[in-house]
């Protein structure tokens, strides 16, 4: 009889330990990307000494990550809303060529940029409205990608718009030693983060991404929010196109497929659920920074360029696998804890 008590007591502490393990696993899932980035920085700091760990290089990494981060914000917010927008490269090229055309036809820079951004929003709106008619968003946006690439080439007459030097203020110029695109990214991510976590519309947007039907049944106009997801995605794509144009001072109609690949990689590294409803913009930013850090370190080291692609792919697969393992482990432990609580009569 007396022996039964310790046995029961032994089972309860084990159950109490479960939440701590779960907490650690959830921490690894949510914060692992920051630790990974820190480890990568540390490794390159030694491997690429004395060139890597410098303030100048930190700015280069931040600058290199900026454009990927802008596109990744578009993809990320879209995905969290349950929308995968593959038309980003086309939207970027289209917006850039619209701006290029306007500027080379004597329009002021501010007006050209405004129209360029609006063009991106309109593309998103069109994508959203078409997708709402029951068409698969992936197919819709592939179609839009193709159409926009063609339109951009039509606007540019098959050439490019070179010499857009008045855009340098948001491209190659530095303010207090920090490249302009870094400020743009900072503002974009802060605004996006606050919108998604502090506003009613942002929270509803995430809810629609998680379960559109449940959101609809709770009285949220889920369709309106899905369109909003497309519009934000289009806006980010246009902004990315304009920043790219500002950096190179040339608007090109070529829609680079690498844009979507890098953005999706950053989003996947950040652990954003491709099923929607879960994700974090700061983690997306770190995803983009990880890609830029790897590319920068390998470039400085002079490693064969192909290895950067290999390493990025391996990292992506590894992070996906790890997330899967952690997620399953969390579920199993929570289930075990719940069972234990039921059988031991403790809630």
């Amino acid at each position: 009889m007396t022996a039964a008590v310790p046995a029961t007591e032994a089972a309860v502490p084990a159950g109490r330990d479960m939440p701590r393990a779960v907490t650690l696993l959830v921490f690894a899932r949510d914060r692992g990307i920051f630790i990974l980035w820190g480890a990568i920085i540390l490794a390159f700091s030694f491997w690429c000494a004395p060139y890597f760990a410098t303030l100048d290089n930190a700015m280069l990494v931040a600058n290199a990550a900026a454009i990927t981060a802008i596109f990744a914000a578009g993809v990320g917010i879209g995905v969290m809303t349950g929308v995968l927008d593959l038309s980003l490269p086309g939207t970027a090229a289209f917006a850039a060529c619209v701006v290029g055309w306007l500027m080379t036809h004597g329009q002021p820079t501010w007006l050209s940029l405004t129209v360029g951004l609006l063009a991106g929003a309109v593309v998103g709106l069109v994508n959203g409205l078409i997708a709402l008619r029951g068409f698969n968003p992936i197919i819709v946006t592939i179609g839009t990608l193709s159409a926009l690439s063609g339109l951009a080439a039509v606007i540019a007459g098959g050439y490019t718009f070179p010499g857009l030097r008045s855009l340098q203020f948001m491209g190659t110029d530095r303010y207090v030693g920090v490249p302009a695109p870094v400020y743009i990214v900072a503002v974009l991510f802060l605004a996006g983060f606050l919108f998604l976590t502090r506003t009613r519309d942002g929270i509803r947007l995430m809810a629609v991404g998680g379960n559109a039907e449940a959101a609809r049944r709770s009285g949220i106009h889920s369709e309106r929010y899905r369109v909003l997801g497309f519009v934000i995605s289009g806006l980010c794509a246009a902004l990315g196109g304009l920043v790219s144009t500002a950096v190179t001072t040339e608007a090109t109609p070529e829609a680079s497929p690498g844009i979507i690949f890098n953005a999706l990689t950053a989003v996947a590294l950040a652990g954003v659920a491709l099923t929607g409803g879960r994700g974090s913009l700061p983690r997306v930013l770190v995803g983009a920074l990880i890609l830029a850090t790897i590319a920068n370190g390998l470039t400085i080291r002079g490693v064969q360029p192909y290895w950067a692609t290999v390493l990025t792919g391996v990292l992506l697969l590894g992070s996906l696998g790890l997330e899967r393992v952690i997620q399953r482990s969390v579920s199993n432990r929570l289930m075990a804890t719940a069972n234990l609580s039921v059988h031991s009569g403790k809630a």
């Binding site: 914060r31 920051f34 980035w37 820190g38 920085i41 700091s45 000494a49 004395p50 060139y51 890597f52 760990a53 410098t54 303030l55 100048d56 290089n57 930190a58 280069l60 990494v61 931040a62 600058n63 290199a64 454009i67 080439a153 540019a156 098959g158 050439y159 490019t160 070179p162 010499g163 030097r165 340098q168 190659t172 983060f193 976590t197 790219s244 950096v247 190179t248 001072t249 040339e250 090109t252 109609p253 070529e254 680079s256 690498g258 974090s280 700061p282 930013l285 770190v286 920074l289 830029a292 590319a295 920068n296 470039t299 400085i300 002079g302 064969q304 360029p305 192909y306």
Partner: protein, 320 residues
């Protein structure tokens, strides 16, 4: 909890910056020299282009023979990527000089100024105005392809072929470069003008954009459906020529007249076989040596004004 989410990335940004301390190398060449390396960066258009891959291997071999480490980069035709990669090695002082075949010369304007400030010499393709410079300056030399001459040569050669083999009349596909390709306008307009002058009976019936070989083959195959009578192709580069030949072979048609600019080994073999009428070959080997030597000279004497070089080119024809 939410606040932590914002703070953590900021801490890492600061952490990355904080790692810097005062370890930043002084500037350019001096830093590279002090680190005991004589490193040079080579940034071609893309290593997937066989001519660029061959050139990069040539540069590495020649550099090694001169005692230099050559870091080869692969911008993959992306001007943004090229800029970022070059910044990584120039602004950190990793290399003492760089040879760049720019995807979009205008995109490197700011980098050229930075390199000059850091006393890191550059060899660039094109001419000073392409990079926002008024003229030749210290620490920057240029090697340009004479696109007009190249275009004129392929246009004239195609015209001669049409006159010789097709009685002066032919429907022609014009394989054009992608938007943004360096020298696109000069090459294509001079080629068309030369073709018109040499063989007025030749008519361009369709433009096909050149991306890679497979895409060209697909594009030309499709174009042949609409224009089955085409017997001549004016090609902008090796991929255009090889893709076109593949498309005509697949369609069971004979491509009587084909000229192009580039001249990789496969193309030269086909010129010898008589399947390509003429190729305007850029003498990259000769250019590689003159460019590399000019870069080394500037590294030795940063005050010397840069020079303007031209990539030698030669027309190769069957039996020629």
């Amino acid at each position: 909890m939410k606040r932590k989410r914002l703070i953590i990335p900021a801490v890492f940004v600061l952490g990355l910056s904080a790692c810097s301390g005062d370890t930043r190398p002084a500037t350019g060449s001096a830093a590279a020299a002090s680190a005991g390396t004589k490193a040079i960066a080579f940034s071609p258009l893309a290593l997937k282009i066989p001519a660029m891959k061959g050139l990069s291997e040539g540069v590495q071999g020649y550099g090694r023979s001169q005692g230099y480490e050559v870091i080869v980069q692969d911008p993959n035709l992306d001007p943004q990527k090229q800029l970022t990669e070059l910044q990584s090695v120039i602004e950190t002082g990793r290399v003492g000089g760089a040879w760049v075949i720019a995807v979009q010369p205008s995109s490197l304007s700011a980098l050229v100024k930075t390199a000059q400030e850091k006393k890191i010499p550059l060899i660039l393709n094109g001419v000073p105005t392409d990079y926002g410079l008024a003229g030749l300056e210290p620490l920057v030399s240029f090697s340009t392809i004479d696109y007009e001459a190249q275009g004129k040569a392929i246009g004239e050669e195609l015209g001669q072929c049409v006159n010789e083999k097709l009685g002066g009349k032919a429907e022609v596909f014009h394989l054009i470069n992608q938007p943004g390709t360096a020298g696109k306008e000069q090459l294509e307009s001079s080629a068309l003008a030369a073709l018109k002058a040499t063989a007025p009976g030749a008519t361009i019936v369709q433009d096909v954009v050149t991306t890679d070989r497979q895409a060209v083959q697909t594009g030309v195959s499709s174009a042949l459906q609409g224009h089955p009578g085409v017997t001549a192709v004016l090609g902008a580069n090796d991929e255009a020529a090889l893709g076109s030949l593949g498309a005509f072979d697949a369609a069971g048609k004979k491509l009587t007249c084909l000229t192009e600019a580039g001249g990789n080994d496969e193309v030269l073999g086909l010129v010898k076989e008589g399947r390509i009428y003429a190729s305007v070959v850029l003498q990259f080997d000769a250019d590689m040596k003159q460019s590399f030597d000019a870069l080394v000279t500037m590294m030795g004497d940063p005050s010397a004004t840069g020079v303007q070089m031209t990539v030698p080119q030669e027309v190769m024809k069957a039996g020629g």
